[in-house]
Symmetry: C2
Subunit: 123 residues, 2 copies
């Protein structure tokens, strides 16, 4: 799986890396049981520091997207906690929807947008 980092972005590198991996899982380019490159390999591929990759992996582990095995490295392993996932999603959506609502984005337009995005995830 190809990782692309925008070094001019205002988003931290480790956040970009986390998001790309999460997107990879959502779009099935990464599947349960797949292994991620080692922190050193990934760091070399992207051209960043090992510790930055390690930070991303560690956070992904804490958030339940991968598990880390000293023998095999980082493995995609989803820890499904739906209640927590819904809560976290709501926190994100509250502000995002408020912004849209101020800009007169209608409820149906949001639903349509959700469908567009979801079409690329579950197929």
């Amino acid at each position: 799986m190809v990782i692309e980092i925008d070094f001019n972005s205002d988003e931290a590198i480790y956040v970009q890396l986390m998001n790309q991996i999460i997107l990879g899982i959502a779009t099935s380019r990464l599947q349960e049981g797949d292994t991620l490159p080692s922190v050193r390999q990934m760091a070399d591929n992207i051209g960043i520091n090992m510790h930055t990759v390690n930070k991303a992996y560690t956070l992904l582990k804490q958030e339940g997207f991968v598990s880390i095995d000293r023998r095999r490295g980082a493995i995609v392993a989803i820890d499904v906690d739906k209640i927590k996932a819904l809560e976290e999603m709501k926190e994100n959506l509250v502000v995002a929807l408020a912004k849209g609502c101020c800009k007169k984005v209608s409820r149906s337009e949001v639903h349509q947008l959700i469908d567009e995005i979801f079409d690329e995830y579950d197929l």
Copy 2:
């Protein structure tokens, strides 16, 4: 309108302030034409520095939620740019939905969540 800041939050104070004002507009507690407290007043009320408030106001102006009049201060004034609003919303949703998708949150559950949130906005 009461502003509440969580000083222990990992979110920057000026971001919290921006979000609360945006939420205020979305829930109609703030309406088009309403004036916000001056940067010094708001700073005193919350117990933070003037510059932090000024940063929030300036960003809110850049994002088209208020306009700033030297005589009257900050005034709620929505600059409706729906296309831009939809693009920004999509960027936010892509990652948020990917996380949920990984955690097996279904499409219908997301739609339901959207409705819940929207019910508090447009009434």
